[in-house]
Subunit: 88 residues, 4 copies
């Protein structure tokens, strides 16, 4: 597994742990704005994981595809994904 | 616990389950774009949870504060949070 | 016109000026990443304007509605808007 | 100028026109939520323009760089940009 994937897994695991904490915060009746701020932090980790996955995708799969002269399809796939990312 | 908090917990638990699935997808070497799309889906659930928390915060804490004539501080708190949400 | 609305108009006018500059950058064949970074900057100003509009909406219309015991409808309206904001 | 750049300019011009309309809406004292919804629409057009710029950047500059075996720097540049996009 490459370095980016390892880092992505770390970010995902941390995010998962934060979500468990957030559920407990709600159950304990903690202040809403504190809960919301934690949700924002967990979201930021998911974004980070996604950027790492995308980075190694570009450097491996997309590079390979360009060298084999069929990169355009890969680019379409990425743009479609990004349109959804920047809209979540 | 009010209805919005219950729904928020459900969304958070689903998101947590998805993240566990995503970690496994990466470990299994699944295609990057499929991994990314799942991360986007998990993020969307966190956003949903956050909107539910915010909704009941407005309808309870903020309403209460306005009736006691000290709502402006609550509004500042929300705007600060939203500036961070819409920027994650 | 209140202070927030004035600041929002200033942000919108600056954003408009930036967009004019971006169109010229593309016509002049400037480097794509520089163009993209300018688009991100113009977007950030729109977000800022939106937060200012929302702030004074909460402090005036929504406050008024809570005092007249019909705030829930206003809150639904805001949550619907925010679901769209945080998804653009 | 390629097709994506032309479409990006169209989106930017439409967005600029919308912003002019939004400024007028605020000056005319129009309802805040209507103003906010228009700001969201103008933002969506900026995002669209950015995706078009990025698409042709990948299909031209980045492809070229990979063929010349120096694509990694381009990828870093894109990831840095995207981290900012998905955070505005």
């Amino acid at each position: 597994m490459n370095k980016e994937k390892e880092k992505a897994i770390t970010a995902l695991k941390t995010s998962k742990g934060q979500i468990e904490g957030i559920i407990k915060m709600i159950e304990d009746g903690r202040y809403c704005i504190d809960v919301s701020n934690q949700i924002v932090a967990a979201s930021a980790l998911l974004k980070k994981a996604n950027m790492l996955i995308l980075k190694q995708h570009l450097n491996h799969c997309v590079k390979e595809a360009f060298l084999n002269n069929n990169g355009e399809e890969k680019v379409d796939e990425i743009i479609e994904l990004l349109s959804r990312i920047s809209s979540k």
